[in-house]
Amino acid sequence: MVSQSALGRVAVAAQEDAAAAAPRTKLAVKNLTISYGKALALKDVSLEIREHEIFGIIGPANAGKTSFLKAVNRMDMFTTGMRVAGEIHFNGLDTRHLKNVYALRSRIGVVFPLPVGLPMTVYDNVALSPRLRGIKEKAELDVIVQRCLTRAALWDEVKDRLNALGSLLSGGQQQRLTIARALSQEPDLLMLDEFSIAVDPVTTMRIEDVLKELRKEVTIILVTNLVQQARRLADRTAFFLNSECVEIGVTEDLFTGPVKDRRTRDYVEGRFG
C-alpha cells in the first residue's frame, strides 16, 4: 500500500512545483482512438481532467463513454479485439506503456453500470482491496470497511449483516457496495459509469452528496445518461456523440452559455436521442 500510494504522491508532488497556482492535470488524453475490429468506438478525443474536479461525460448509448473509461484503467488488456491508439497520461505517467497495470488500476476506482457484488461477504467485498494492498490487521480493516460503507450510504442498512453474501443484496445495495469497494481502494481517480441506473432517486441523491464531499480528496469522472445529474455535479462536462467528442466545457455553459455546437444544446435540452 505504502509503495503504491507513495508512487502516486511522488508524481503529484512533481507537478506541484510545475504549476503552483493553476489547477493540476490529473488525466491528460491526447488523440485517443478506440476501435473494436472495424467498428470505431471513439475517434480522436483529446481532453484534460483537472485534479479535484468532477468531470462529467454525457451522451447517448454507443457514444464511446464506457470504452473511454476502459482505456483509462487499461481494461483493454482483457477485452478481446479492443484496440487503443493515442496517449493517456495519469499523474503525468504514460499509461499506455506501464510495466505494472495492476498498480495503475489499484489507484483508479471504477463503478460499473450494473452492480457487481462479488460472491463473498459484504465485509470481504469492501476489505478485498485493502487486503490486496497488504493490510491484515482486523482493527484497521474494520475502520476502513465502516468508513467506506458509510460514505457509500450503505452502512446503516448492512451493519448488522456484514457477513451476508454481497451478491445477495438488492440491486441498489449492491451498487452502493460497489461504490464502497471503489472507495476502499483509496483511489486517486474515481470513475463512475452510470452508477444510478440501478439505484432509487433518494439513494441517488445521497450518493451525489457523497460525491460532492469526495471531490476534496479525489478526482471524479462521472459518466451519466442523466443530463441533469451532470448539471448538478460536474464542474466541466464533455458531450460524446457517435464516437466523437462534440464539446467540452464548463457544465453550466453547455446548458445556458452561448451555443458552440447545436447538437450539444439539442441533447441537453432533450430535443433528440
Partner: protein
C-alpha cells in the same frame, strides 16, 4: 378462395375446419419420437436397477448364509480357494483400494486443479481450445493402456530409482490412477471455473487485482462446490477402476506399510478370480458381495458429488 383454387392442395395443407380433427403424418412422427426418446431416457434407470438387482441376487446368498460380518470386514485374510477352510476377509483389499485411490488423489488433485486454472483463467484463444481438446483426448485413453504403462515403463523406473525389488506397488498404481483420473477432473474443474461469471473477474481486475489474485480470492471460492464435486467424481473413478490397478499394483493381498508394498484392489480381485469360480458357489457369491460393496460406495460418492455440484447452481 381464389388463391386456393389456383394452388391445388393448399386447402388440404393449410386445413379447413376438418383438418383440426385429422391426425396427420407429422403428428404420428412426433408421437413416435417422443416414445422413442422416452424409452432411451428411462433405460438408464432400468439398467442401473437391473444391474443392482443382478449383483445383489448373486451376492445375497453369501451375505445370508456364509458371511461373518466381523471376519469379512475386519480380517485381512483372503483365501477363498482353500478347500478346507476358505477365508473371506477383505480388510487388505479395502486397504489396497483405499491406499491406491488416496495416493491417486494426491497426484490428481493438484495436477488437475492447476491444469484447470491454467485453461480457464490464464490461457487464451488457441492455446485454451487446443488444451481442452487434448485433455478430453487424454480422458479417452483405455485403462488397459495405462496399466500397460504401469507395467512396462513405471515398474522398471521405480525399481531403478528407489532401489526396491518390485516396482508394482501402491506408488506405481497411485501415479497411474492419478494420471488417469486427472483429465476428467480437469474437465469438470474447468467447467466449474467457467461457470463463475466474467463480471466478477472484471470487477476484481478493475480494482487492480492480478490474475492470480482474482483467481485465488474471487474465482476459486466462488467455484469451490464444483471443484469439490470434480474431486469426488475422481475418487469414484479411482475406486471403480479395475484393469490399470490390476496390472500396476502387483496384485498381492497385503496391508501396505509403505508405498513400495504390493497390494490388491477390490475391483481387481473380482476381475482376476471370477472366471475361475463355480457359478453360484461360495467364492462366486463372495465376489459378488464385494461387487455390492463397490456399487454402494461408488453410487454414494457419485451421488454426493452430484448433489454438491447442483448445490452451487442454486446458490
Amino acid at each position: 378462395m381464389a388463391n386456393s383454387n389456383a394452388v391445388p392442395g393448399a386447402t388440404v395443407a393449410r386445413g379447413g375446419a376438418g383438418a383440426f380433427d385429422r391426425r396427420d403424418f407429422d403428428w404420428y412422427v412426433d408421437k413416435a419420437v417422443q416414445a422413442l426418446v422416452f424409452l432411451c431416457g428411462i433405460s438408464a434407470i432400468v439398467f442401473v436397477l437391473g444391474i443392482f438387482i443382478f449383483v445383489f441376487k448373486e451376492g445375497v446368498g453369501f451375505i445370508l448364509h456364509h458371511m461373518n460380518v466381523r471376519e469379512f470386514f475386519l480380517t485381512p485374510y483372503w483365501f477363498p480357494s482353500d478347500a478346507d477352510a476358505p477365508e473371506y476377509g477383505i480388510l487388505a483389499l479395502m486397504a489396497g483400494t483405499a491406499s491406491v485411490t488416496g495416493l491417486a488423489m494426491l497426484v490428481a488433485v493438484p495436477f488437475s486443479l492447476g491444469a484447470a486454472i491454467y485453461i480457464a483463467e490464464f490461457a487464451s484463444g488457441k492455446t485454451r481450445e487446443t488444451l481442452k481438446v487434448l485433455v478430453e483426448l487424454l480422458a479417452a485413453i483405455p485403462s488397459v493402456v495405462w496399466g500397460f504403462i504401469g507395467l512396462v515403463i513405471m515398474n522398471p523406473l521405480i525399481i531403478k530409482w528407489f532401489d526396491v525389488p518390485v516396482g508394482l506397488c501402491v506408488l506405481n498404481a497411485g501415479i497411474i490412477l492419478g494420471l488417469m483420473a486427472a483429465p476428467i477432473m480437469t474437465s469438470i474443474a474447468e467447467d466449474a471455473l467457467k461457470a463463475v461469471p466474467d463480471r466478477y473477474r472484471e470487477a476484481a481486475e478493475a480494482m487492480g487485482a492480478t490474475r492470480w489474485q482474482v483467481t485465488y480470492k474471487v474465482v476459486l471460492p466462488a467455484a469451490k462446490n464444483g471443484l469439490l464435486g470434480g474431486v469426488l467424481l475422481g475418487v469414484g473413478r479411482g475406486f471403480g477402476e479395475t484393469m490399470a490397478v490390476l496390472m500396476a499394483t502387483g496384485h498381492a493381498v497385503n496391508i501396505p506399510d509403505s508405498v513400495f508394498d504390493s497390494v490388491r484392489a477390490l475391483t481387481a480381485t473380482i476381475a482376476a478370480e471370477l472366471g475361475e469360480t463355480v457359478v453360484g458357489g461360495e467364492h462366486y457369491q463372495a465376489l459378488f458381495t464385494i461387487g455390492i460393496l463397490l456399487f454402494v460406495v461408488t453410487f454414494t460418492v457419485n451421488l454426493t458429488a452430484d448433489l454438491i455440484v447442483r448445490g452451487i447452481r442454486k446458490g
